[in-house]
Amino acid sequence: MTRKNYWARAAQTLTAAFVVALSVATVVPAQAVTYDPITGTGSTWSQNALDQWRKNVAANYGMTVNYSGVGSSAGRRDFAAGSVDYAVSEIPFQSKPEDGSAPEVPTRGFAYMPIVAGGSSFMYNLKIGGVRVSNLRLSGETITKIFTGVITKWNDPIIATDNPGLTMPDKGIVPVVRSDGSGSTAQFTLWMSKQHPALWNSYCASVGKATPCGLTSQYPLTGNMKGQSGSSGVAGYVSQDYGEGAITYVEYSYALESGYPVAKVLNASGYYVEPTAPSVAVALMQAQINTTPGPDYLTQILDGVYNSTDPRTYPLSSYSYMIVPTEVVAGGVFTAKKGATLGAFASYMLCEGQQQAEALGYSPLPMNLVLAGFDQIGRIPGAAPAPDPNACNNPTFKPGDSPSNNQLALTAPQPAECDKVGANQCTTGTGGSLAETPISGAGTGGTASNAVAGSADPATAAAAGAAGAAAGVTASYDENGALISGTGISGSAVASPFTLASSAWGSGQSTMLFAAVLLLAAALLPPLIWPRLKRTPAKVVAK
């Protein structure tokens, strides 16, 4: 019987395989070139882009590219162990780790190839009076304090200072961090260690790490923080109902995908900026690229980005690399034939693929990095030469451009006036949540939509601001976002998903308990007493 079963299954498998073969044959046009499948693992920061490209090359060129987002650390480890053809990571191999861990030394030759740029955004889930906030602004210091446990409430004065237009609820902040080894964590902690070393080091010391501590791939959890694995894990937690009050660091595309807003981050020139494709492109104009040939060729040095004085800069911009092999090791999984696939895939990514970066929530790579990437493609064994830059169709440069130019940066809009530090706060939504947030605080509002064109309409902003000021002077909200006092916004639905009984036991509670006991007694005593009263005569009768 089992044998029959087994054969039946085998037959089923074969039939299914035949169906697949048929469907593949009909869907994909006949290809002159056949590509060997390639497999890679790594960053979840870049996963959305890679998934889209993977789909595109499968549909258009019949290439099979496997990608599994397991985290940058696991990706680098897989590459070093030789179990994948390529890896994707936000940070290079840690040959001299700052936290004292063992150095990562891949045994086979490799090269870094930048694939996509993007902003590490701060996606959050916050409601005021039942209305989702979508215009939160945070300074770098505030962010660091949130993620180092210095401030724990949304109505902390320092957040209020950043957000004059919002009356923050008395709700705990839940920082959601990555529990796996992650390049996003590394980028974020690198930024904290460079920009706010005092805060970061004291946090490191409090969790028992050696100071000064630089970047780490594994975020040390304390207090009310949540650890979730993968970018989708942290984004998924924040986007749950019970994630209200949560904030996380994640690539901008995840916020777009899950429909949640991201915080605008204060840059060096006093503007709160959203990590859109242009603001990332502008920021990365200041990135120093290591151009000395060697193991760290093409790695990024981002200090310039953090402190860029261009008002359009999003300070936490960075790009991620694909780690590609530069030699074929006998007996390894990587072959020259796979190199051909990898090269073709890389050429697609650097040119055509960048067209979709912005729609996905990333920022296309500028020309200098594309040209450097072309060099790296040439080093992949078996790869065809990179295409002509003039036929590249990358949105950041036109044929004949100079490598230091970036079309996207040239046309990037100036930030709206209401995004400048001050009492005026834009009400426009961010990220995946585009609904406007009503003014609830003492500040004034404005919309960024008209400002994108470069000219804020002061009259509108002032009017809105005045209305906001009138509306929200004395409003205050409790932890569930319910209005405590003052005239605040009346949301369509007041958020009190989980009402809790008051924990205090007072005289009111005692009275209630008494009433409950009385009620039960009224229901129960008569039937209990009645038979006893009747029992004696009944026994007599029985005898």
Partner: protein, 430 residues
């Protein structure tokens, strides 16, 4: 069930026992000994209504209690109280206890089955978004990007991956597991005891540790890549002890007198195993294997470490990642995107249905104990033996044309239903 213990002892006495013929005596329907009185029902219903009413009153009007959970607990407690009081109006303490405990046991059952059925139903219902799309079953995720709607992409690759991985695992587990179980039961000895101890110990191996072993021993050291084969190995390491143990129990249940009969007829050990032990235990072995398969198909943790994640159909288990259903569920629901989550639930629904189907097959095959035959099997056995009788008779006729033909026995000695499980090997051989 209470009655069959009253089988009379057959003491050999001189007096002959005449069993009265049961022919002609009409056997009416069996009397129901236990019944529920009408007022018992009313007690239950009344207490239920009263409990709910009190809960609602307390929560709705009198006290500031709130929340569905508190309501449920208060209602349930008052239901029990009311029921005890109602029963107590007519009965003594023993009966009150009996009734209350019965109600408590019944509620435990209701809670448990309610919860379990709800878990499954929840998955099936949430899977409804993805399941009506035909492409969900005949496509893979190769041409579906992160933002594509449910009308693109499917899980064929995961279904195929699961089937391939489990087939490889079964190809190793079935022969190895059943042979080992045969070794334990039919050959025995000190080494068999050792093997049994080791196999029992390995049932305690957490599945993730099996995965970790395969990852660090096979992937890191030998193949250097995640593959369907590595996943199959991890499933094998996890399934093998389960199958051995279950088959061992089934083989132990094969009645010893069947084996003895075979040996007495001069069969060799191998022929005994092949013609007596295995056919007798076949339904049980099939059940053991199928239940092991269900466990193997449903485990996520060993494949999480070993199979790798892919969106394309990979039919080569030795090269490249090959995803399976549980891992695909896990991978889908990690995404914050609603369509991906719907796909995850759809995949989980497919997985549940697959496991349920396997289980149903196991029930069909192995619902009976070893040696018990279905009606069809019994008929075939009878036909075969009738043929044998004819054949033997004819042969005998030819050889001894004059001798009296013996009366053909209509029910020849084929394995009858064993009455009791055989004593285990250790007991019998010592």
């Amino acid at each position: 069930m209470l009655i069959d213990t009253l089988t009379p002892g057959t003491a050999p006495t001189k007096t002959t026992t005449v069993i009265p013929s049961s022919e002609g005596i009409e056997i009416g329907p069996r009397r129901r000994v236990r019944s529920v009185r009408l007022d018992d029902r009313f007690d239950l219903i009344g207490a239920g209504v009263a409990g709910i009413a009190v809960g609602t009153l307390l929560f709705g009007w009198f006290t500031p209690l709130s929340g569905g959970v508190g309501w449920t607990i208060v209602s349930f407690l008052s239901f029990i109280t009311f029921y005890a009081v109602l029963v107590g109006m007519k009965a003594d303490r023993q009966e009150i206890k009996d009734r209350v405990v019965s109600v408590l046991l019944a509620s435990a059952g209701v809670i448990l089955f309610g919860a379990l059925v709800f878990v499954v139903a929840y998955t099936l219902v949430r899977g409804q978004d993805a399941l009506p799309h035909l492409n969900f079953f005949i496509e893979n995720m190769e041409l579906a990007g992160p933002l594509d709607p449910l009308s693109a992409g499917g899980i064929l690759h995961a279904v195929l991956g699961t089937l391939i991985q489990i087939s490889i695992a079964l190809a190793i587990t079935i022969p190895l597991g059943i042979l080992t179980a045969l070794f334990l039961n039919e050959i025995g000895g000190r080494f068999a005891k050792f093997v049994r101890t080791i196999a029992d110990a390995m049932t305690a191996l957490p599945s993730i540790v099996a995965g970790l072993f395969v990852y660090s021993a096979i992937i890191v050291l030998i193949t250097h890549q995640r593959s369907g084969f590595a996943a199959a190995m991890a499933i094998t390491v996890m399934m093998l002890p389960i199958v051995i143990r279950a088959s061992d129990i089934v083989l132990r249940l094969v009645a010893g007198n069947l084996r003895e009969a075979a040996y007495a007829l001069g069969a060799t050990r191998w022929r005994t195993v092949w013609h007596v032990v295995l056919p007798t235990a076949r339904p049980g072995l099939a059940t053991a294997v199928i239940l092991g398969t269900a466990r193997g198909i449903g485990e996520t943790s060993p494949v999480l470490l070993t199979s790798g994640v892919t969106a394309v159909t990979n039919l080569n288990p030795f090269s490249g990642p090959m995803i399976s259903l549980p891992l695909q569920v896990f991978d889908f629901v990690k995404s914050p995107e609603p369509n991906m989550i719907a796909r995850g639930f759809g995949t989980a629904a497919v997985l549940i249905l697959l496991v349920l189907a396997l289980f149903a097959v196991a029930r069909l095959i192995g619902g009976r104990g070893p040696g018990e035959l279905s009606h069809g099997q019994q008929r075939r056995v009878l036909e075969a033996s009738a043929r044998d009788v004819r054949r033997i008779t004819i042969a005998a006729d030819r050889r001894q044309p004059v001798a009296a033909v013996p009366e053909p026995d209509p029910a020849p000695g084929l394995p009858s239903t064993p009455e009791r499980p055989a004593p285990s090997k250790e007991e019998s051989s010592s």
